[in-house]
Amino acid sequence: MEASPALSYTSPPEVHPELHLDALDNLWFQVSGTLCNIACDHCFISCSPRNHSFELMTLAQIEPHLEASAALGVKEYYFTGGEPFMNKEMLDILERTLRYGPATVLTNGMLITPAKAARLQHLADNTRYSLELRVSLDGYTEAMNDAIRGKGVFKKAMAGVERLYAHGFLPIITVTKTWEDAEDEAVLQGFADLLKSHGYARPRIKILPSLKLGKEIARTQGYDRYEYVTAEMLEEYDCSQLICANSRVVTNRGVYVCPILIESPSARLGDTLEDAKRSYALQEQACYTCYLYGAICSNFSSGKRDA
């Protein structure tokens, strides 16, 4: 990497730049809290079947935020966790959300039973808005994937992908980057080949940078001391690339600045969307990853196809 202004810092900057919310375009829901049916080695909020630091959200808890979001002109809705389909009300929550606008679910695909896939298809067919499913996968072989995501995960996730495809979805396969840049092309090709061999003829693949938070710190290492966003770095930078310029996340414990930072006390902005419109000082080291890669939470994905 080329030298950046950040390299001149050997300790955290004393003043963090404030970023204001341009518009609340993307509203996230931490719909399954930190509860997940698996416990991946690179999870940035250490989700697991036993992590109750954030709890499941009910439709009744979500509804008022949907209502408030319409008045604020929210453009898209995202559901994450943990594993959203751990939430028994997930399909009802989606049905309600799709009356307001487009919805995206970030899932590991393992809990998508035939009955759930059929209901998802019904929901998608009966709205003018897009319903996107983003399925996480971390290897194009069972061994590669399960080394990170746990034994038996690969087979169940691929069954979920097949079911979604059979029910008219083109799930976005989301992969956290755990390899070197030089391997980019080979890895992408590996995923494309895998998906095609499972009948998914035009796969959409999205690569995410790894976030050096939560369990990922043990897997690799945390951030270096200089890795902060400084005011200097934001000069001439397109701040609309940062999630906190256009997003907020609703949890059972209040509204936070972004889905990556829910475990940082500084990231809690209030109880309501109105409270959470205030600006945020970019004081966490994960902000540095967002700064480097930009728009990491959007749905844009690879459209690679064979010539």
Binding site: A70, G73, V74, E76, L170, A295, F300, S302, G303, K304
Partner: protein, 260 residues
Amino acid sequence: MMKKIALIGGVYSNYLALQETIKDARRRGVDAIYCLGDLGAFGPHPDRVFPLLSENEIAVVQGNYDHSIGNDLQDCQCGYTDPRDNYFAKISYDYTYANTSGENKRWMKALPPEIRLEMGGYRVLLCHGSPRKMNEFLWESTTPAHFLEKLCRDHQADIICATHTGIHWQVELPGDQHFANVGVIGRPENDGQTHVGYMILEVDPRPVFRYIPVEYDYRRLAREMQEEKLPEEFVETVLTGWWTTCLEILPAKERIRGKF
């Protein structure tokens, strides 16, 4: 007072479709023709578009492509993340930049980011992507009605017209407000049809948008693109009506309807 106008979306250097669109709009007796930007990209001979615009007194809104070419930027500002999409976008951009005259570049640099009109008491706002951002995509399946109402509020408009995505759609909002994405005439709409299209807005007394498909000599366009050594993937789109590149920007619903 203007009652009936033609709204042309991205031209993408498709001067053959532009000729046919202008003829069609004149035949339908429009009071004026507007273009919502993105004059270059994709097609051959970018400079052939400009005389048609001036001869026909077509007012043009600046698109992201016009902004990039006019300001000598490095890329088209479409914001692709996929390496394959960026590869094709660069070919298209470099070709368009190299084949656009200095005079036309300067002209594009000076284009306005929006045009405002009044039609029958309605405040009409013409823009490229959205009123707040030149390169914002407003797709039918990812643009909630309440979001458009906010745009109308924030930008003091009753009718907003945009292009940029390449696929037309329209919606009537509560409170007699209206939005239309007028589509593009540069390439087909990813539906297996070779025609392109534009919109007519008529206010008499209520606003009505009509999408008008336009047939043109797409085989000739394909031939000229091949002669200019533009990618076969682009030629395939012209000949088949299916998009082959820059697919990552499509939301689920629009993507599923396509072939790739």
